[in-house]
Symmetry: C2
Subunit: 346 residues, 2 copies
Amino acid sequence: MARATIFDVAELAGVSIKTVSRVVNREPNVRASTRERVEKAVAELSYRPDQSARNLASHRSHLIGLVYDDPAAYELPSAGYVISMQQGVLSACRSGLAELLIHPCNYRQKDVGAQLKSLIAETRPAGIIVAAPLSNMPKIVRAIEETGTPIVRISTGSKSGKQYSVATNDRDVCAEMTCYLASLGHKRIAFITGDPNHKAVAQRFTGYQDGLEQSGLKFSDRLVVAGDNSFGSGEACGEELLKRKNPPTAIFAANDDMAAGVVRVADRLGIEVPAQLSVAGFDDTALARQLYPSLTTIRQPLEEMAERAATMLLQGKCEDADADAKGTEIVPATIQIRESTGPAPG
Amino acid sequence: MARATIFDVAELAGVSIKTVSRVVNREPNVRASTRERVEKAVAELSYRPDQSARNLASHRSHLIGLVYDDPAAYELPSAGYVISMQQGVLSACRSGLAELLIHPCNYRQKDVGAQLKSLIAETRPAGIIVAAPLSNMPKIVRAIEETGTPIVRISTGSKSGKQYSVATNDRDVCAEMTCYLASLGHKRIAFITGDPNHKAVAQRFTGYQDGLEQSGLKFSDRLVVAGDNSFGSGEACGEELLKRKNPPTAIFAANDDMAAGVVRVADRLGIEVPAQLSVAGFDDTALARQLYPSLTTIRQPLEEMAERAATMLLQGKCEDADADAKGTEIVPATIQIRESTGPAPG
DNA sequence: CTGAAAATTGACAGCGCTGTCGTAATGCGA
DNA sequence: TCGCATTACGACAGCGCTGTCAATTTTCAG
C-alpha cells in the first residue's frame, strides 16, 4: 500500500505525468475530458502530491512564515496575541492548502537579520507575515525584503505607505469610544497615555482628541496623564486624577492593564464604578473580562488581521513589486461594552 | 548572490558532496580536520541545506508536529502553556535542523482523528508531540499511532506505561512543597483539592500526603477540602478553613487560581499573608506573580518537557516499536518561593 | 479543402539532497 | 615490515515533482 505517485496516476489515466501535474495545479490548457479522467484517477488512488518534491522542483514552498516578537522576553501577556494570530493564519492556511511555520524572534539580538535570512533560505516560504512591533523595525523588514520573499506586515495602528500590510483603525475606534463616553453624558473624560515609543498607542491618543472634538467637548491638557502601559502606572495616574477637587467622571486608558489599575484605585478610594466613574480600556485582554466590574474596552481583530494577511500571501497578491499595487488593508477594531462604563453621575 | 548549494560547499572545502552531507547531518566517520574544513566552508557561504531536497531524498520530513487542544475553546489562560511548549519544541528544533508545525485541534469535534490523519498524510512529519490533555485521549493517540508516525506524549502528572512520554514529578514536588511548609514551622497545613477528573491534580494530593508523612505530621481529613480548580472555589474553601476555631496556618492549593482565591478571602477576613497565613499554589501562572503578595507556587517545566519530547523524536529514539524500550522521561517541577509563604505565626 | 495559428499534450532535464556501495586511506598486531 | 580490519571518503543513482520546449492535434479563416 505504498503511496501513489504522479506516475501511477498518469498511467491509470493514460496521460503523461505533465498532464497530471497540470490538472493537480489547476493550470489551463487541459481538455475537459482529459481533466476529468485524471481527476478520477487521482481520486481512485487517493493521490496527494508530495510537498517536498513540489517545493524542490518549483523553488517555492507552500509554507507561510509568521514572525513575531519572542514573547518569553515579554512575560506572557502577549501570549494571547500570539495565539490569536496563529489561529488566524492557520484558518487561512486550511482553506489554502498551506502550512504555518512560526518563528518567534528576539529583535534585541544582534543577528536577528541573519537568523531570519537563514530560516528563509532553508524553508523558502511562500511569504512572511511580520507582526507588530517587529513590523515597524527596518532591521527586520529589510532582512526579509532582501531575500525577495513576499511580506505582509501586521501593524496595529498605523497606516504605512508602500507596503502590503494590514492594520486596524486604532485612531477611529478611539474616537468612537470617546464619543460613546460623551454620549453617556460625561463632560470630563480623562485619558491615560501609554508608552510613547509604541506607535499604535500614540494613535489612540489622537483618536481620543478626535472624539472629543466630534462630541463638541474641548480638549484639556489637564485631563491627560502619562502612563507607561503598566498596571502600576494605571493606579498612579488614576489616583492623581481622582484625588483632584474636580475629578473626571470617565477615564479612558490606552490599554487594559492601566484601566485595571484605575479600577483598583477607584475601589480603594471608595469610588464606585460605573456609578460614579466610568473606565474604559483597550486590547480586550483576558483581564478585561475577569475584572469586577468587567471592563468596557476595544477588541483588536488580531485573528482576522492575521487571516487577511495570510490570504493576501496565499493569493499571490504580494509578489507584485509594483509599488502602486501595494497598500494597507484595514480591519476595524470593535468596542466591547461591559460593566465598567455607565451614565455620568448626576 | 544565488544561494549556496551543497556543491558549492564541497568545492570550497575540497571534498565530495557526500562528505558535506555527513558533516551537516552530524554523521560519524568524518575526520576531525575534514569536518572543520567543511564547517568553515559552510560558514563562509552561509550554506543552509534545502529542506525540501532533504525531505525528498530521505523520504522523511524534518517537521515536528505539535498537537494541542485548541485554546480558543478554553479562553486563553492556556495561551501561556501553549507558547511555552512551542518555545521548547522550537529550541530543540533549532539544534536539530528541524521545523515545527503547530496543530491546535478541538477534540470535541467528531472528525479530529480524520483531520489528524490527513495532516500527517500530507506533511509526513518525523514525529508528533501530543500535549495534555489530548495526550490522555485514546481517540487522538490512536489516530496518530495508526499512521505509524512516532509519537511522544506530554502528560503533566502521570507516568504512563508502554509509551514514549515525558512527564513531571507532580507528586514528588508536592511532597517537597509540603515539607517546605512544615520546615517553616507549620503544623496545620491544609490542602485544597481540584477537579478529581484531572489525573495530575489527584497526584498532587497524594504528594501532599507524602510530604506530611516525611515531615512527621499526621494527615487529617479535616484539613482537606474539595475545590474545582476555580478561583471561586478557592475563596469558598479558604473561607471554610479560615473560619474554623483552630484554622490552618498554611494552605496548599492544587492550583494557582484557587490559591489566589484563598489570598483574596484572607484579605477580606483581615488575615495577613504571610504573617498569619502561608498560601501556596501550583502552576506558576502569570497570576502568581501579579498577585499581592506574590504567590509561592510550583513551576511546571513545560518548556523543558517539550524540548525533551522534541529531542527524543529528533534523535529517532521513538521509531522503536519495541515496547520495552518505551518509557517515561521525568522532568522535575520546581518550587518558586515568593511572598505568600513565611514562618508559622507564634 | 488548405495552411497557419491556437490549443493540447508529452519527453526530458533538472531541483538539491541522501542512500548505497565501492574504493582509498589509516591503524595496528605480529 | 606485512596483512587485515577499520575508518574515511567519493561516485552516482535516484526521490517525485515542475519548467521548458518541442511535437501533435484541433480549430478555423479564406
